[in-house]
Amino acid sequence: MEPARAQTSAVAMIEIERVSQVFQTSARQDHLALSDISLMIEDGAFVSILGPSGCGKSTLLYIVGGFVPPTRGTAKMKGRAITGPGPDRGPVFQEFALFPWKSVLGNVMYGPRQQGMKYREAEAQSRALIEMVGLKGFEDFYPKELSGGMKQRVALARTLAYHPEVLLMDEPFGALDAHTRTRLQNDLLNIWERDRKTVLFVTHSVEEAVFLSDRVVMMTRSPGRIKQIIAIDLPRPRRRSQLLLDPRYQEFIVEIERMFDDSGENEFQP
């Protein structure tokens, strides 16, 4: 079984080719947010983009999502240039962005219904997803009645519901407290282990990036460039309790933090 996986994982899911992004901050001033980024993400990989705030890492994710067109360069999905958003790439945002007028079930069903799935089928599938993200019993709650962690669980279920091939996660746990964040990281890994979707995960937490990812793409502060790509070859499935005792896990974290320190760019939160 293993060689087969190795073969399929060589297929490029996302290709970012020489992408630069310029924002006009005022009439005369341009701000170079991303400079000449090239990156390949193979099918089934969990890749984190790690960098200080303002390094353009979220912008890179928005470009892959098709929400923001790049100033220069191209982003491709399975060899085809990305020209706009599509259900093959499912975003999960730090702000949750749930539909507040829909119940938990309504939110999760929204995508499948949009794509023409029958109500019964969409409902059954959505109820299963809601259970999978640990929210059984909250199907009829409105977003305003949920905590931040629960909202993000709903957002994840809502995105998984329309079966995107790639998950685009934009600092999804950034607005949560440390305890909730840890629990969601564990649960995300458990869910991911089941079908190993391709994930592009933006974060500013070194520990989070190392814990979750196959590869960590380190970025420099503005203009955002790729500083280094580090393969995190820790065994899977990963359990936090085991990793915390694993010296290699600690070494990865120390190594990455030192690299940011060296360039005076360490502004990470623990």
Binding site: E95, W101, K144
Partner: protein
Amino acid sequence: MMRRAAPILACLGLLAIWQLASLASENDSFPTALEAIRAIPAILGDKDSLVNFGASLRRMAIGFGIAVAVSIPLGLMMGRSRMVASFFNPLLMVIYPVPKAALMPIIMLWLGVGDIAKTLVIFLGVSLPVIYHSFEGAKAVEEKMLWSGAAMGLSAARRMVSIVLPAALPEILTGCRTGLVLALITMITSEMIARQSGAGNILFNALDMGQYDTVFAMIIIVGAMGIGLDALFEKMRARLVRWSEPQLDVPLSFS
């Protein structure tokens, strides 16, 4: 208990002050509260005046309905498109501070004193707050919410109807509530200027003929209509936006 009784007590207090002030002033054109209240059944029992009320309410409903139907889409489009906003904003800025009743003489000149002119004034009065609140509501819709919809495959038009509209609904309904009160005000003022039929017509005819108890009775009736319509609308609004984050309660509420 106290909360429910408070508005009633306030009304009774107002009537008491009115009664005393009227008795003290001994002015023929200032009937007492009791005299005004006694005149109400006569008005409501009269077939002619009921026809007039019906005509008023019909114009108000039509003016309000068309205004809402036009203003919500326009406001939402302004809120989501900078081009549409920069086209309509200056126009609305000019119209906004003009009292809509002040346009009445010109409108009468063009359209006569009939239903169309009066309905148009009501339409103008209702439109602006509804456009403004729809505009603000649409502007405030979270970009990421629209992106989430786009990722699900919703077209721009579908996002407008299925995301922008419901997301902006609390703000839109706030505008509609203001619009409803303005509809009542413009309804009466339009009938005051173009006298022909309607509740305003009864009021000002009575004034001309010196029937001051009828005048004040009409003021009470129109006021009660305003309170009733507002309370009804507020009930509906609260039902429609149950899902919305708790907001500061609107202080002027009779529900």
